[in-house]
Subunit: 241 residues, 2 copies
């Protein structure tokens, strides 16, 4: 039997339009407490959040994120950062820059953000992840005064929903959930899913288009370049060894 | 006002001991559906999950993860993988290996896992993340037949709790939640937190120890080496450019 929490998770959609109503201090406190309650690898707690309240800063970030106006319009915009700088401040002799540490930072930070999103949604709020801040990550790093060993992974917009988008069908479970060993794709499953997605894109309530799923992959993987990322990571102190 | 979901998130603790009762097929279906409902960067859906049911495979993974017996004992053990191999199978000409793609893979996979954990906990189940599978990630990759562009980030044990550990106090919010710009640590906040953690470690119901928080950082960061990770990532097709 399902649970109200599972129903909530299953009704997730990204919300990119908000009413003017602010997120209350009490809600912020609840969201943050739930976020912090997440697991942390070896309890390193290597995440910091920058809450961007300054309107000028917000406008600049909206442009850097690829002209996403909801970054400016959302009542709340939080930038989630993998942060080992705090540890370096506390214990200057620790050796950083290991690839393993990047994975820990990314995982810890992402699961904390997801708790924040779930908590917010349970309060009737809507959210959207803004990976676009990685598009010009060097400038984002400068704007937020992020020192070495701090990596801004994504932003999250939070606010009261002013839209109710449809829920996108996901990959068939058999195409991503395997028993004991990895399995190559079954073409029939993906064909069927492409048809499902084509129907969805043609019939959804807004932004209709003619597309399946497989054909979007190539566009995305070839268009989202961010080719300076590896240099940036190195300069920022990550993944040097 | 809080919500039942927020209360659930705030009562999270890692569960490492389980009753023999299995996780039902219906529960697995619900957990997986909730996991898939999470956001996905550009809807790339770049996560695969390997459910390890084979007992011999499970025992080997428990050893590789650093002799963690609960990996064998848990009714369910799922390995969460960042997966761009599926995309490569569908569109062979896509260019992979970009640093940006590693970040996308890690974030997408981690937030999906957190949805699975939250869904499971809402069903009364308990979970623990097993980052230890990265300790000997090369052998894990071989055992699970993971091809290039598939990265096993962590496992998750799921089962009916047979323990009720205490909840660890988290960092003071002011030490990880900043407004507009990153802030260096305030020593007084960390001193206070070290005292809180020292009290917690001395008084918790099991595994008591004399330790604060800052002093654990150095031990962890110096002892969790995984120095082959960068080479492994390169060989597995990740972060080459």
């Amino acid at each position: 039997m399902s649970t109200p929490t599972i129903e909530l998770l299953c009704h997730h959609r990204s919300i990119r339009a908000y009413t003017p109503e602010p997120v209350s201090d009490e809600q912020i406190e609840l969201i943050l407490t739930a976020a912090q309650a997440v697991s942390s690898s070896n309890f390193l707690q290597c995440t910091s959040i920058i809450r961007v309240t300054d309107t000028e800063l917000r406008s600049k970030l909206a442009v850097l994120a690829g002209n996403q106006p909801y970054v400016t319009q959302a009542p709340e915009f939080w930038v989630f950062c993998a942060d080992l700088n705090r540890h370096k401040q506390l214990v200057p002799q620790v050796e950083l820059g290991k690839a393993e540490q990047l994975l820990v930072g990314c995982v810890d930070t992402a699961i904390m953000a997801q708790n924040a999103v779930v908590a917010a949604e349970s309060l009737g709020l809507g959210c959207v992840y803004i990976g676009g801040i990685r598009g010009q990550i060097e400038q984002v790093t400068t704007l937020l005064n992020l020192p070495k060993y701090v990596l801004p992974l994504f932003g999250v917009c939070i606010g009261h929903p002013a839209q109710h988008p449809d829920i996108k069908p996901r990959l068939p479970k058999a195409a991503m959930f395997f028993e004991n060993h990895y399995q190559p794709i079954q073409k029939s499953l993906i064909d069927e899913y492409n048809t499902t997605m084509a129907n969805y894109y043609q019939q959804r309530s807004s932004n209709q288009k003619v597309s399946g799923w497989s054909d979007t992959i190539e566009k995305i993987l070839n268009s989202v370049k961010r080719d300076t990322m590896l240099d940036y990571l190195h300069q920022q102190g990550w993944i040097n060894k």
